[in-house]
């Protein structure tokens, strides 16, 4: 008798456009390697053209690779020592392998770790050492030893310090920093995109960065590892009897936000034989939806993943319900299960296979007997005495 509202024309158009962009951007794994030819110059088969969500890698020749970053800019990778072709804009030329990198986000730092170059190349980060010390000992060590500098917050970079560190490349999600980086003659790659990162793009992102460092083999090995984890998840959950319903988001005093259905978590939930409650929501990243829809979808949900960490108030189901009493009656808070990320979750995207497996194990605990959580905490019904003491 009830249902999600019939979409307006505008919404249908928007969904259509998003789907079209998806199809064109090659989020489907089978479309992501639509190479019409293969580059064998290196002695092994490698697709000449690789589409990874909004990102692309085009191997023109042994001495020239063109990449398209998240902002749609084309950068030209030229090996060190090779001449720069006349048709190249010097601002967009990156000499490879890159030897010094400043990275804005956790995910970019994790990508460097995946490629096995973090200790050698990372010269600047936008998060202070004490934050890294929790889960990324390698970055913290680099900062203590003076190899890696803290450049200030990502929204207000100390460009003098950045220039002083002489990076060959900056990995940033912030397109507004490009003009100044151009003035400083520091090549930059925009690592965020106008579209949410689908699962395939999440897995393959490292293959986009690999040509910068000549680490394609490591990237392929990483991708194979994640692919194997996904195959295992698919195989394990294929025979799962019931399909738990999952919601993923955050609750504020009067508002709610959710992870859109076109983001990687939504896809993973579907892949693990479960149902994502906000599959019809499209967006770039976590996005505000109406409280009534959150309540309606929460009525039948089994599991709720919150973005909010324990330190930010997600210490128990009771604590979350207290944040916004309007949603206190969603099923996960009453009788289901609620999970909050541990501090290491956001810094551990190089262990995406483990995180995907953990999410699958949370959704289907019966299929993963004895599994110990590493990246998420299951929240108790009520705050413990310790939680209350910590707050007061």
């Amino acid at each position: 008798m009830r249902g999600v509202s019939v979409r307006s024309t505008a919404e249908i158009l928007l969904v259509g456009i998003v789907l079209l962009v998806f199809l064109l951007s090659g989020c489907r794994q089978e479309a992501s390697q639509d190479s019409d030819k293969e580059d064998r110059s290196g002695g092994e088969a490698r697709p000449a053209f690789l589409q990874i969500g909004e990102f692309a890698v085009h191997r023109i020749s042994a001495n020239r690779t063109e990449v398209r970053d998240g902002a749609g800019r084309t950068l030209i990778l030229i090996p060190r020592g090779a001449p720069v072709p006349d048709d190249c804009d010097p601002r967009h030329v990156v000499r490879t392998p890159v030897k010094r990198v400043a990275a804005y986000g956790y995910f970019d730092v994790a990508a460097l770790r995946m490629l096995g170059v973090l200790d050698e190349v990372l010269v600047g980060v936008t998060v202070p050492e004490k934050e890294w010390a929790r889960c990324s000992a390698d970055v913290a060590r680099g900062m203590r030893e003076g190899r890696t500098a803290y450049l200030g917050d990502a929204s207000s970079i100390d460009f003098e310090r950045l220039k002083q560190m002489e990076p060959d490349l900056v990995l940033t999600w912030d397109p507004s920093s490009l003009p100044l980086l151009d003035d400083l003659h520091i090549p930059a790659v925009i690592t965020s995109t106008p579209q949410a990162t689908c699962l395939s793009a999440r897995m393959r992102y490292v293959q986009f960065l690999a040509p910068f460092f000549g680490r394609e083999k490591e990237a392929d090995a990483y991708f194979a590892r994640i692919d194997a984890a996904l195959r295992d998840i698919r195989a394990r959950t294929a025979g799962a009897g019931e399909q738990p319903k999952v919601m993923w988001g955050d609750i504020y005093e009067k508002r709610v936000m959710v992870e859109p259905g076109n983001a990687w978590v939504g896809e993973l939930v579907g892949l693990a034989q479960s149902s994502y409650q906000f599959e019809d929501v499209f967006g770039t990243s976590c996005i505000e939806i109406s409280v009534e829809r959150f309540l309606y979808s929460g009525e039948t949900a089994d599991i709720f993943f919150t973005y909010r960490s324990r330190e930010s108030g997600a210490s128990s189901k009771e604590a979350i319900a207290r944040l916004n009493p309007l949603i206190k009656d969603i099923a996960p808070l009453r009788s289901g299960r609620v999970f909050a990320p541990q501090p290491c979750y956001i810094q551990s995207m190089d262990k995406l296979d483990e995180i995907l497996t953990e999410i699958s194990a949370i959704i289907h605990p019966d299929l993963y007997p004895g599994y110990m959580l590493k990246y998420f905490d299951e929240l108790p019904d009520r705050d413990t005495a310790h939680d209350k003491d910590t707050r007061s």
């Binding site: 008798m1 009830r2 249902g3 999600v4 509202s5 019939v6 979409r7 307006s8 505008a10 919404e11 928007l14 917050d153 929204s155 207000s156 955050d250 504020y252 005093e253 009067k254 508002r255 936000m257 906000f278 019809d280 929501v281 499209f282 967006g283 976590c286 996005i287 505000e288 939806i289 109406s290 409280v291 009534e292 829809r293 309540l295 309606y296 009525e299 973005y307 909010r308 960490s309 930010s312 108030g313 604590a319 207290r322 944040l323 916004n324 009493p325 309007l326 009656d329 707050r391 007061s392």
Partner: protein, 351 residues
């Protein structure tokens, strides 16, 4: 500041409710009721007319449908009506006070004060032990911020005579509060900033019945008081000397106008966050629609116009991309900015 008050006395002293205002009042009342009903009937979860009626007949039902209609949609629809009405009245008062057609309720730093206190609560750890105040922490903080700034502005207004000085003090308060908020934002953890940005966009989402009660009683009293002051306001519009010659205590009257305006704007901002353009654009829409500057007509007229425009904007914000919510201030700006530009170009911005 240029005085644009070239009000003709005739409309004020003529027939109080001539045909045009009466017609516009009727239209606005109908539109308000219609939009109120639409806001209750339309949402991201679809219910048939009969289902809504059934839910309305059983307010104490424990079903999800009842929770959605009674605890989410109805309070939100009513809040949009009150919010629009109060912001419009607040803007109208300040436009009269400053005799400047392009001031709005936030010109005196009310929203900046609210934003500052909310940033303290959301971006720092000062509220870590205050869980007993949840879920009213942000609302309380915004309330305190808005009214502290209001008290400072009133204290300054009590000392200085010129409106221009007060306007500058208000702007400076806004800059000061904005500066502290900006520093807190720069130093805050990323995950906290998201919630703060969300609050700054303004929304009538998540209103609770006790807040509606507060709006009805507190705001209602102020609106009634304002209506009682509409004749002195008309006199004030023609000049302070003229008003004084009619027996109006100018100093007290100026403070009263500021108090009422800031109280209305602070009330809405603390509960819904800053909602742009309603307070600035709606009084002009009301003047144009009613064709008069008589505050006996304009005060209720602007309230109704504000209720209609805000309800419509809220309906658009939550329906166009449902279940995704668009920022309310973005929608109100779509309405407000073109109107203000049009009026400025047509040189029809008069008080």
């Amino acid at each position: 500041m240029s005085s644009t008050a070239d009000l003709s006395i005739a409309p004020m002293q003529g027939t109080f409710l001539s045909r045009r205002p009466l017609l516009v009042f009727c239209l606005l009342i109908c539109a308000t009721v219609l939009l109120l009903l639409l806001n209750v009937a339309i949402g991201s979860v679809q219910y048939s007319f009969s289902e809504i009626l059934a839910v309305l007949r059983a307010p104490f039902d424990t079903s999800t449908a009842s929770a959605i209609i009674w605890n989410i949609r109805i309070p939100r629809a009513i809040a949009a009506v009150f919010g629009g009405a109060y912001l419009a009245a607040s803007g109208l008062l300040l436009q009269i006070y400053f005799r400047n057609p392009i001031v709005g309720p936030y010109i005196l730093g009310i929203s900046s004060g609210a934003t500052l206190m909310v940033s303290f609560v959301m971006l720092t750890t000062v509220s870590a032990g205050l869980t007993m105040l949840s879920p009213y922490l942000n609302t309380l903080a915004a309330f305190i911020g808005a009214y502290v700034v209001m008290l400072i502005v009133l204290a300054v207004a009590n000392r200085v005579g010129g409106g221009a000085t007060l306007l500058i003090v208000g702007l400076m308060m806004g800059y000061l509060c904005g500066a502290v908020s900006a520093i807190l934002t720069a130093l805050a953890e990323k995950e906290k900033i998201k919630g703060f940005v969300l609050w700054q966009l303004g929304s009538f989402s998540g209103f609770k019945w006790n807040e509606i009660t507060l709006l009805l009683l507190g705001g209602g009293l102020i609106i009634v008081l304002l209506y009682c002051l509409s004749k002195p306001l008309n006199a004030f519009l023609l000049g302070e000397e003229y008003a004084a010659s009619l027996g109006v205590n100018i100093r007290r009257f100026r403070l009263l106008i500021l108090l009422c305006s800031c109280a209305l704007a602070g009330m809405i901002t603390s509960m819904a966050g800053p909602v742009a353009f309603i307070g600035m654009a709606v009084p002009h829409m009301a003047r144009l629609s009613f064709g008069t500057s008589d505050n006996r007509i304009l005060i209720p007229g602007a309230c109704l116009m504000g209720a209609v425009v805000t309800s419509l904007c809220d309906l658009i914000a939550r329906s166009v991309m449902a279940p995704v919510e668009l920022p309310l201030s973005a929608i109100t700006a779509f309405f407000g900015a073109p109107i203000v530009i049009f009026l400025l170009l047509k040189r029809r911005v008069k008080l």
